[in-house]
Symmetry: C2
Subunit: 381 residues, 2 copies
Amino acid sequence: MKFIHTADWHLGKLVHGVYMTEEQREVLQQFVRLVEEETPDAVVIAGDLYDRSVPPTGAVELLNEMLFAINVELKTPIVAISGNHDSAERLSFGSSWFRHSQFYLKGKVDDQFSPVRINGVNFYCIPYAEPGTIRQLFGDNSIHTHQGAMKRLIGKLEEEMDCREPNIFVGHAFVLGGKTTDSERTLSVGGSGCVDAGLFAPFNYAALGHLHSPDAIKHEKVRYSGSLLKYSFSEANQRKSVSIVTVDEKGAVSIEERTLRPKRDMRVLEGTLEELLDPARIQAEATEDYLKITLLDRGAIIDPMGKLRQAYPNVLHLERKIDMIDQRQKESYGMKREEKKDDIDLFADFYSEMTTDDFTPEKRKLMERVIQEAQLEANQK
Amino acid sequence: MKFIHTADWHLGKLVHGVYMTEEQREVLQQFVRLVEEETPDAVVIAGDLYDRSVPPTGAVELLNEMLFAINVELKTPIVAISGNHDSAERLSFGSSWFRHSQFYLKGKVDDQFSPVRINGVNFYCIPYAEPGTIRQLFGDNSIHTHQGAMKRLIGKLEEEMDCREPNIFVGHAFVLGGKTTDSERTLSVGGSGCVDAGLFAPFNYAALGHLHSPDAIKHEKVRYSGSLLKYSFSEANQRKSVSIVTVDEKGAVSIEERTLRPKRDMRVLEGTLEELLDPARIQAEATEDYLKITLLDRGAIIDPMGKLRQAYPNVLHLERKIDMIDQRQKESYGMKREEKKDDIDLFADFYSEMTTDDFTPEKRKLMERVIQEAQLEANQK
């Protein structure tokens, strides 16, 4: 039995104000061709199909088209769950009809825990859920963390599980020790969002979504496929791939990776303006790529972005090394470097990720009040 | 062959700041029971399933649940199109899968004009579309009005139509002479949104959506089913029903109406505060109804809304006759009564319909600038 494990498509994603839809279409077309060549028994998508709960209509159309190609045209079963970026309710619309064509879409955790069975393999699907949702579902007030919620869920699955058969877990979670990047939204503000890889021991394989690199954790059986594309410059050096997972009759698992190639890569360049605008350099570069450029010049430069964009039209972010050094000096002189961001800074990051507006001091003040009130309310409970 | 014609469900509708979801659920459950009793060959929903392009998640879940009950549990084919309140793209998601269970959902006008055929009857489905969309689709620059667009579309359908068979048109449009209310959004700002009933002559029946009353036009074969519920106080005196349409082998059509009863009606009351708070009166009234109350008192009254809500908890709107007289006097003294609202007033109505915020002078100024710029741009084209 062979399935393809993918996750974190993030359709509708904006990176520095630019929609990634065209790249996503290109790479998903390659994915459909891969499904056609490999003829897997199933495609597993472990959450974050969309980048936000209300995705732009172009993303809705793209997802519809690609899933139709895989499921109906290529007659390949699909097992998919929602992630923390998806709206469980919106994504669920129509899922009862999709089952007819073996498209198993689980948007919300409910009281149905029976697995999807495909060619002798059981897929246990747990969409992303807040600990509070699981607490309510089981009426278990001891559940406060993602770890506690996942432990309870897997305990429930184990009750029914036949361990003589191959069992696959499909989930969207942050596994302890996983390496994060800038584009995975923090799961818990002020709490623990992590779960222990050991929880997945009852399964032959855990097909995970959430972290964007296939190397995010080192574990034989608990794996992230990685995201479809690079979605932030902190992912510039990550490999992006999908995993072809083969399960034999005894439940032993082997994995192969396949790389998808977007038309435009996402990369980081560094140099002086002169170096970067040298015609020989320009000729050697894939100039259409999405770029973050760090300029090494000292002193004033006039309109560096305008000049760079003539050669590199898709520069998304520009910074100067000199600023970064200043920043680090500031930090070493007295300001404590904060490893853990506080709630308002997390929100500020989120705001600038999701909109093209400035997070003005007025907005900051308003949000601080909201957070304060929410904390007060939480403490009173 | 028998089908039920309904339209304008407007799931997710806010009336004076109150979500109608509970009433909609109640009435849709009655609708499902009607389908169970009548066992029609199809249910036709002629647009505006949702009230807005991004409906609240409760509305998404309600629609999913009700369509599933009709289509899968009761095995009844569904023919549905999007209206001007729906997002064509969002509503279309999954429609290719739904066809397997004879749920024919057409969100967007495209180049597929073949009818849905159910028990010997052809259903030609034309979702709501802007004239510009149809102009582009046919590459016909002469199309500028809804009338022109509909004429072109029906001409296209006629090319393939076999007039020896019963042919039903399913559409969402404003038919000339139809009586409007406050809750149908204007189709064309500053242009003609109307189409002529005569256009539908090639069909045995036109199952329409958009106007909210089954009496909106007087025509044997071109009909509105009317909306599911009363959605504004200007509909307070309308009958609300669904139509059971029977088509015989020769294509002759007969119609019966069935009334659905919401738990809370929407009504208008008039009287002095004393009359309305008279215990005998209160006992005789269905006090849970959604009410618009017109107070006939003269002079100051302290907290009339607070007092009324103790007896009538769902007063949604309160006005005083005295204000209305003043208003009319003002109009007769020099101020011209505007039958046709200008763009900014239309937008102000829309804003207060869709949000619970005030349309402040600052917002008005901003919107005036936007409209001005849009008009400038349109004139330059």
